[in-house]
Symmetry: C2
Subunit: 336 residues, 2 copies
């Protein structure tokens, strides 16, 4: 695209040395195992020429030869979802700190799309994958792991699989915010969740049930499971819940929260007067409007840095060797 690349050969010619030597000089700073001994004088001369000619190493060639692209693929539900957008940003920065790049792909919770983008990323030649699995991707992930692809799961995990992961302690988080609703006087608390089969949602449901049971309300639990992207059903449900005398909602995800809160207001009700609300993920306006919404603040930065750390350790540990699988569970913060 640009003018013409200055190659290692140009430098070699100009500096009166062989291309190999230039290569050694260039990669000496990050010398892996064996430090190639090169004369300090020549090294300086080569670097000077490189500087003068404005040499920029060709990463494609480097990648082809070395098998390492310096890129991590990140597959998530939807990068426009604020939760993932924030993670994306931290991942970008984390990757940068390792001199790596990151390339994102969204799945919209569709396992077929998941498979597709994972394949595209692998073909592009990523050194590792950070994945937010969606329902129905267990086999794909198992395939990656057995195929020795450096894989780290984020936000959600897959049971019975030897794979590294970084997730929230969802069960504890859910229990805590449900407890908070209880302590604010609510007894009839519904949980609104997704019908997808993903670990974090299931754990959150369990936390809700834990809290209710501990409060002696095991009999009056209700989990409303909404299909992903089915907005209509939420409206009906909120109306129905109101009739049923529900006093509070515990909501499993940020997108769902916006829908439920929207329906509450549309039906002329207020928070917290008519309904108390607890949910996952922060929204700046929750605080601003002083709406009294209790929410779980996920340590998004830790998600990103830990996931990146894990995938890097996988990459470092020579492929072929057994993966240093590590499953990290992070603690939530509660606000509101």
């Amino acid at each position: 695209m640009a003018v013409r690349q200055v190659t290692i050969k140009d430098i070699a010619r100009e500096a009166g040395v062989s291309p190999s030597l230039v290569s050694f000089v260039m990669s000496n700073s990050v010398a892996g195992k064996q430090l190639y001994r090169v004369n300090c004088e020549t090294s300086k001369r080569v670097l000077a020429v490189a500087e003068r000619l404005q040499y920029k190493p060709n990463n494609t060639a480097r990648a082809l030869r070395s098998g390492k692209t310096g890129t991590i693929g990140v597959v998530l539900s939807d990068i426009s979802n604020p939760f993932f957008a924030e993670i994306a940003r931290f991942l970008e920065d984390a990757a940068y700190s390792y001199d790596y790049n990151v390339v994102f792909a969204s799945t919209d919770e569709d396992p077929e799309k998941f498979r597709r983008v994972v394949n595209v990323l692998i073909n592009k030649g990523v050194d590792g994958l950070i994945l937010v699995p969606c329902g129905g991707t267990e086999d794909i992930i198992r395939g990656l792991v057995t195929g020795c692809v450096n894989t780290v799961l984020l936000d959600r995990t897959v049971p019975d699989l030897e794979v590294s992961s970084v997730v929230l302690d969802n069960r504890a988080a859910a229990r805590t915010i449900t407890d908070e609703l209880l302590s604010r006087g609510a007894k009839r608390i519904d949980m609104v969740s997704y019908s997808m089969q993903i670990s974090n949602t299931r754990d959150r449901e369990q936390g809700y049930l834990d809290a209710m049971a501990a409060a002696g309300l095991a009999g009056s639990t209700h989990i409303e499971r909404v299909a992903h992207n089915n907005y209509g059903s939420v409206a009906d449900y909120v109306r129905e819940a109101k009739d049923r005398g529900v006093e509070a909602f515990m909501i499993a995800t940020n997108t769902l929260s916006l829908q439920v809160i929207s329906e509450i207001y549309k039906s002329g009700c207020r928070i917290p007067e008519d309904f108390k609300v607890a949910c996952f993920d922060r929204n700046p306006l929750y605080d601003i409007y002083g709406s009294g919404i209790v929410y779980v603040r996920q340590p998004v930065d830790a998600f990103a840095s830990k996931a990146m750390e894990l995938v890097m350790s996988h990459i470092k540990s020579k492929s072929g060797k057994k993966h240093p699988v590590e499953q990290i569970v992070l603690s939530p913060e509660i606000t509101g």
Copy 2:
């Protein structure tokens, strides 16, 4: 990383043909200029073998030889900002529709960071760049354009430069929402803006001034320019504005809006009773709380698809030739 790549040679051996032929078969579907004539039978046989061996072309090798990576670099302010996150998603999808990938980098409005990430992306070998310029990047962008790097500017433009761009009609948008505030009875309207020197902010300020002047209020305009990421100053300003008898705010960006709205509520005031507010960019909660905030809804999908279209047309038009520069201005929608 994975097991071992199936190469074009494996297929050649298995199918009893030469590697070249396999290459022809593989790239025949996307035959550029010259369609290489290959026997239908052999073609089928080769494809069958490829299918059986689960051949996945090595994009790195392909990129090295062909000089095309199939990747577009996107440089924006901050991918965790909802406005850019949404654009990111649309860009991802748009790229995919061209069989391309997209890699993002955030600048935090820092020209030095901008220069750095642009260089990283170029070294990685992107086929084109979509850039959201920040203040102080004019020279860098000029350098790219003269260096024949396929460049498209997004959301903001750089004056006096022959470069393709996709921006909102910011002046018209700003005028419209200011008019809306006026029609709702506000006379003392302040504009809150950033002190950065970027085209869209300047245009929005002009639109505000246009509307005020047309209403005969040229004398009572006030533009408060806040430094990027300087939260403290907003609090002081809102207090001061209240004392000054300001009735409405016209706010230049989404992040700034959240700050101003937050301060309004913190100071015990309400929207729209105490202050009317007009701003840029949607936030789902604006609608939900029925807060009566007027806002400009930017056609984010069109931003993305147009920008991708432009960069693709640059790529198609043989490098060396004159760029088909095109500057697109999109119309806003107003809600509230």
